[in-house]
Symmetry: C2
Subunit: 321 residues, 2 copies
């Protein structure tokens, strides 16, 4: 938390114009950002402390993204930095809070996509990369390929000199108990962010530790463009969370874009069609932003940790319907 | 080759009805099958021997698939067996003929999809699986997941007791020379098969060794549903071959289905839209079959090793336009 506050402080210190937050917001022009911390079943009877912890993390993440966009920086930067924040926060099933596989290890997935030119980068099954979303961005920016998996992806991280950690770094007592007790996670905890910046560029990203007790090598939808993540400046950007296999089979993220492109659906209509008619109830949700800055936070589960902010002053985080 | 002839002989011996090929064809009702052995640039000046070797392999593969369908077996069986044949034939960049990675190893990818219920299985980056397509089918049939990558996928193969080989099994002198000389493969050599059986079920599959000199861990479109492979009984089945990164970014296989579903395009119109308008020239091709048994063999390269057969007696293999 202190690191984030320091980071924001540094951003503000390096901004030489003597303006307050409101004038910064104006300087970045128009933008919209949406975030999620996973769709699932959080009991409405959780303690006030747990509820506030979730809401506080969502607020800090959203504020970070809003700050980046309001300074006129890109949606790609906002998406990467927000997801890095989630990855470093053990509340979420991504980075530090990643769940355990069936053999007691951690395998992480992430993807990022740039709506300007459909360029994209992703990593699947990495074991030693502290922030998979940043390696995904390096795959996009620095390699001729779009997806790396397994040991090759970890080696790539070393080559690019991203922060490397022992696999045990991802051990969290709460996740360990879930694994030992063979508990299904009460919330999936995958994280995602989608934003459109003042230049009309849409970016989307997703990061996850996958399913508690997943078989080693299992890849879900989060590192797969079209399934878990998608961005196209002509339509929308999407990040999904839920039962990954269903998201892959139903091409969820791309399909929301396809309905807009091919059937002239609005973002809301597309999201509702896919989340309520194509996907079965209880399977997950999506966050999305379209090229006009409209947004959708659509889920068929009891809860989805989520937030939205825009240049008109909207700033909301929520858990239940 | 002898093994294949023996296999066909066994199929015939175990067919107790005293009928010839024509009556077998009738017993299987209506079907269509298309195959590919990669899109790329085969010089029209290749020797007669090389040309005949390609055409002969295509014929044997197509005959095998036709035989299975004509006996009333499923399109899934036809797709798996045809791709196994290609994987065992060192002419193609899949299984035995897989190209070398930048560090002199082999990493193989494959996927299969069932149009009945969108179920699918895939493996990425396997190093010891003789027939990746059959492990992909086991992922689909026997696990709750759809995609396994890296060591976890190889371990799954051991668990399912598929045939395991040393990575050196995939060493082929011709591929070694390409790698040593840092030659781009003159033809990509990815293989695929799509079929519709008499029950109206569409199946599609793809298998590849990837790109010569690819970075270890790189995953292309072949193991990715929506990008390299897709099948939906309501529209069509597709298998792609070409520059995988472009196929992923443009959701090629699913997009052909989406244009039929959302814009009522014919299979031919969909295939032409994606291959000639969305993909850049020289990037690859697709084979596809729709729910009526129509087919498309569409490519924007000089050549695509391909074939088509159906229950109306069509049986064609070709290389160039």
């Amino acid at each position: 938390m202190m690191k984030i506050i320091s980071f924001i402080t540094i951003l503000i210190l390096f901004d030489f114009y003597p303006h307050n937050i409101d004038t910064i917001a104006q300087s970045g022009g128009r933008y919209t950002i949406v975030i999620h911390g996973g769709a699932g079943y959080i009991s409405p009877e959780i303690s006030k402390e747990v509820k506030n912890a979730y809401l506080n993390s969502l607020k800090v993440a959203l504020k970070l993204g809003k700050q980046i966009l309001s300074e006129g920086r890109t949606s790609l930067d906002a998406v990467e930095q927000v997801i890095r924040f989630f990855e470093n926060d053990s509340l979420f099933n991504a980075g530090k809070g990643a769940v355990f596989t069936s053999i007691g290890t951690h395998e992480l997935d992430a993807s990022i996509m740039n709506g300007i030119d459909l360029s994209t980068g992703a990593v699947a099954g990495v074991k030693t990369i502290k922030n998979p979303i940043s390696l995904a961005r390096l795959v996009m920016d620095q390699t001729p390929h779009v997806l790396f998996s397994g040991q090759g992806a970890d080696n790539l991280g070393k080559k690019f000199e991203v922060e490397i950690v022992e696999n045990h770094y991802f051990d969290i007592h709460r996740r360990y108990q879930q694994w030992k007790l063979k508990q299904q996670e009460d919330i999936k905890g995958t994280v995602g962010c989608v934003a459109i910046d003042n230049y009309g560029n849409i970016a989307a990203g997703t990061s996850t530790g996958g399913l508690t007790g997943k078989w080693p090598g299992r890849v879900g939808d989060s590192p797969l463009i079209n399934a878990g993540t998608y961005a196209d400046n002509n339509t929308c950007g999407v990040s999904g969370t839920g039962q990954g296999e269903l998201f892959i089979r139903n091409t969820v993220a791309y399909n929301i874009s396809a309905l807009m492109k091919y059937k002239n659906y609005s973002l809301r209509e597309s999201a509702q069609e896919i989340v309520f008619k194509v996907l079965p109830e209880g399977s997950g949700g999506i966050i999305a932003v379209d090229k006009e800055g409209n947004y959708a936070l659509t889920f068929n589960t009891e809860s989805m940790l989520r937030g939205v902010a825009n240049s008109d002053g909207k700033f909301e985080v929520s858990i239940w319907k």
